[in-house]
C-alpha cells in the first residue's frame, strides 16, 4: 500500500501555498500581544504548562513551549486553538527577536496542534511524523467540527496546518549552538508520535509518550507504546517535558507511571480475554487499582480499555 504518498503530496502543496501567501503579508509581531505564561525548565527551554481538562471542553490543556538557539527558535506543539498558538508566539517574541525556524508537532492530537495556524506567517517549517499528514487529514474533519462547536464559529480547513517536513525515522534540526534530535515512533500513543531531545541541556520533550498526573490516553497501540517507552527509557536525559503534567520531571523516573498503567492494562486485559470476559465488564473492572493515581481517570480509562481490548483480542 502506498497511500502515504497520496496524502503527502497534496499536504505539501497546500502548505507551500499557505506559506507563500503568508510570506507576502508577514510583518513584525505586535509588541503588546497577550503572551502565554512560560517557565524556563533549562537554559533556553521554555514550557507553558497545561491544565488538565477534556479536549474541546477546556483550553490550554497540553504542555507546549519552545527552545531558543543562537540562530533561531523551535516551537514544540502549539496548543488547542489559534489563540493559544498566538499567545505562545507572543511569549517567543517577548523573549527573543530571533526567527522561528521550526514548528514541531509531537503528534496529531488537537490539544497539541490546533494552534499551528498562528505560526503560519512566521515562515517556520512545520515538522511532524511521516504519518502526520495522513492522520491529520483523516481526523481533521472531526477536529474542525468540534473546534468550531467549541469556539462558536466555523473554522475552515486552513485552520489545520499539516507538516511540510517529515520525520521518517530520526531527524536533526540545528538551531545554532544546539541541535534537536527528533525521533519518530511506530503506533504508540497515536500513530504519529515524535520525541525531541535538546542536546544542549539534555532535555527530552516526550510529547504524549509520557503522561504525569493526567491518566495516559491510548489512541494508538498498547503494545507499541510499551515498546516505545522501552526504547525511550534507555535514552539518557536530565529531564523530561511530558505532554501533560508538570512543566518538567526527572528522567527516566517520570516514565514509570505511564509504563505501569499501560503494562497493568495489557496484563489484565490479556487475562480477561483468556477467561472469555467481554468489553462491558472489562471497562468497569480492569485497571481500577490505578484509579487514585491519576487525574481524569473517569473520563479516559474506559475508552483506553476499549482501544486496548480491540487491539489485544486479535493479537
Amino acid at each position: 500500500m502506498n497511500r502515504v504518498v497520496d496524502y503527502v503530496l497534496p499536504a505539501a502543496a497546500m502548505v507551500s501555498c499557505l506559506l507563500l501567501s503568508g510570506a507576502a503579508r508577514a510583518g513584525a509581531a505586535a509588541p503588546d500581544c497577550v503572551d502565554a505564561p512560560v517557565t524556563a525548565v533549562a537554559d533556553g527551554v521554555y514550557v507553558r504548562q497545561g491544565r488538565h481538562a477534556v479536549v474541546f471542553e477546556g483550553s490550554g490543556i497540553a504542555n507546549i513551549g519552545f527552545v531558543v538557539g543562537r540562530r533561531c527558535v523551535a516551537v514544540i506543539d502549539t496548543g488547542g486553538s489559534a489563540r493559544e498558538g498566538a499567545e505562545l508566539l507572543c511569549a517567543v517574541r517577548k523573549l527573543t527577536t530571533l526567527p522561528i525556524c521550526y514548528v514541531i508537532n509531537t503528534h496529531v492530537h488537537p490539544d497539541h496542534l490546533l494552534g499551528n495556524s498562528a505560526f503560519r506567517k512566521t515562515g517556520a517549517a512545520f515538522v511532524g511524523h511521516r504519518n502526520l499528514p495522513r492522520d491529520l487529514s483523516l481526523l481533521g474533519q472531526t477536529y474542525l467540527q468540534r473546534a468550531s462547536a467549541a469556539q462558536g464559529r466555523v473554522l475552515g480547513p486552513d485552520y489545520l496546518v499539516p507538516p511540510d517536513r517529515l520525520v521518517e525515522d530520526g531527524l536533526l534540526l540545528e538551531l545554532g549552538g544546539r541541535t534537536l534530535l527528533l525521533q519518530a515512533y511506530d503506533r504508540a500513543h497515536t500513530t504519529s508520535d515524535v520525541t525531541i531531545l535538546d542536546d544542549a541541556t539534555d532535555t527530552l520533550w516526550s510529547g504524549d509518550l509520557v503522561f504525569l498526573e493526567h491518566v495516559p490516553v491510548l489512541a494508538g497501540s498498547v503494545n507499541g507504546w510499551l515498546r516505545a517507552l522501552e526504547a525511550l527509557e534507555t535514552l539518557s536525559a536530565a529531564r523530561v517535558v511530558p505532554g501533560h503534567g508538570p512543566a518538567d520531571g526527572p528522567w527516566p523516573d517520570s516514565a514509570a507511571g505511564t509504563r505501569r498503567y499501560l503494562a497493568l492494562l495489557r496484563q489484565e486485559i490479556r487475562q480477561w480475554l483468556r477467561d472469555g470476559g467481554d468489553l462491558w465488564d472489562a471497562q468497569r473492572r480492569l485497571g481500577i487499582s490505578e484509579r487514585d493515581s491519576w487525574e481524569m481517570f473517569d473520563r479516559y480509562h474506559q475508552r483506553n480499555i476499549a482501544n486496548a481490548f480491540a487491539e489485544l483480542e486479535w493479537e
Binding site: M1, L138, L139, Q145, A149, L155
Partner: protein
C-alpha cells in the same frame, strides 16, 4: 500568484462551510419522531417498557468508535412466546440503523451484546418484536462523539491481512441450557465516512452486512448490520444446542464477499 493548490484550498473552504453546522446532534426524540419511527415501524403501536427488552449503554463515551452495548430480554424464549427481531437504532448517526437481529425459540434468550460507533450525542434505542407481532422499546442517551468519522482504529494493513478470520467462544457444558456464544469477526468495517480532509476523498465503505449462525443446519442467530457496528464486529448471543454438533458462521460484507467458520460444541476443554 494563485497556484492550483491555492485554488483547491479555496474550493475546500467553500465546501466546508456547511460541515460545522452538521456537528451538533439533536437532543431528544427529534429524529425518531421526525421520520425514523415511521420509516422502520410505520404507525404500529410501540410499548415503551424495560420488561420485554432492556438496553444498557454507557452514558458517556469519549472518541466513541467502540461503545459496548448490552441488550437483555425480559423473558426466556419459548415456542409460545419469543422475541423474533431486535432492531437497534442510533438516532443521530449518519445511518441510524445499526442492525436487525433475529432470534428463535432455540436462542433460549434473546440477549445480545455488541460494540457500536456513536457519532454524536444521541438516543440509542432498541425495539423488540415478539412472536405475537407486538413491539416494545427501550432507550438510552449516549453522550459520545466522532465514532463514525474516527480514523480506522487498528492497523488497517494488519486488519486486511486477517480479513474474515473468525473466533467462536461457547461457554458452559450443559447442552440443554442456553449457552453464551461469542462470535468475533476480523473485519475493518470501514464506514465510508472517514474523510481525508486534504483530498476530500473518503476511504470507501467496507463493512459486514449479514451474519448467519447455524447449528447442525438450523439457524440460531441471524443479523443484518450496517456501518455503525464497530471494527472487528463482535456479537454475544445465546442458543440451546440440545445435542453435540457444529456451529457454522457465515458472514457477508458489502462487497459481496462471504467468510465462514466452523466450531465444535461442546468445546474440547
Amino acid at each position: 500568484m494563485l497556484t492550483r493548490a491555492c485554488i483547491r484550498t479555496m474550493a475546500m473552504l467553500a465546501l466546508f462551510a456547511s460541515a460545522a453546522a452538521a456537528w451538533a446532534g439533536t437532543d431528544g426524540d427529534d429524529r425518531w419522531q421526525g421520520g425514523l419511527r415511521a420509516q422502520h415501524f410505520q404507525d404500529r403501536a410501540i410499548v415503551v417498557s424495560k420488561d420485554v427488552i432492556a438496553l444498557e449503554a454507557p452514558y458517556r463515551a469519549e472518541d466513541a468508535a467502540i461503545v459496548p452495548l448490552r441488550i437483555r430480554a425480559g423473558f426466556e424464549q419459548s415456542e409460545q412466546r419469543y422475541i423474533k427481531t431486535v432492531t437497534l437504532l442510533i438516532d443521530n448517526n449518519p445511518e441510524p440503523l445499526v442492525g436487525r437481529f433475529h432470534f428463535t425459540p432455540r436462542s433460549g434468550r434473546a440477549d445480545l451484546a455488541l460494540r457500536v460507533r456513536v457519532n454524536a450525542y444521541s438516543p440509542v434505542r432498541v425495539i423488540a418484536e415478539t412472536s405475537d407481532g407486538r413491539l416494545y422499546m427501550d432507550e438510552s442517551y449516549v453522550k459520545a462523539s466522532g465514532g463514525c468519522s474516527a480514523p480506522i482504529g487498528t492497523d488497517l494493513e494488519a486488519a486486511m491481512r486477517r480479513l474474515g478470520r473468525m473466533k467462536f467462544r461457547v461457554d458452559g457444558p450443559d447442552l440443554e441450557q442456553p449457552l453464551q456464544t461469542q462470535l468475533g469477526v476480523s473485519h475493518p468495517n470501514i464506514t465510508g465516512m472517514q474523510m481525508d480532509q486534504l483530498t476530500r476523498m473518503y476511504t470507501p465503505a467496507h463493512y459486514v452486512t449479514r451474519v448467519k449462525v447455524s447449528y447442525e443446519g438450523e439457524v440460531v442467530f441471524r443479523a443484518e448490520t450496517d456501518i455503525s457496528v464497530s471494527e472487528n464486529p463482535n456479537f454475544r448471543f445465546f442458543f440451546i444446542p440440545g445435542r453435540e454438533g457444529e456451529l457454522l458462521a457465515e458472514v457477508t460484507d458489502n462487497r459481496g464477499k462471504t467468510y465462514s467458520e466452523r466450531f465444535r460444541v461442546p468445546t474440547a476443554n
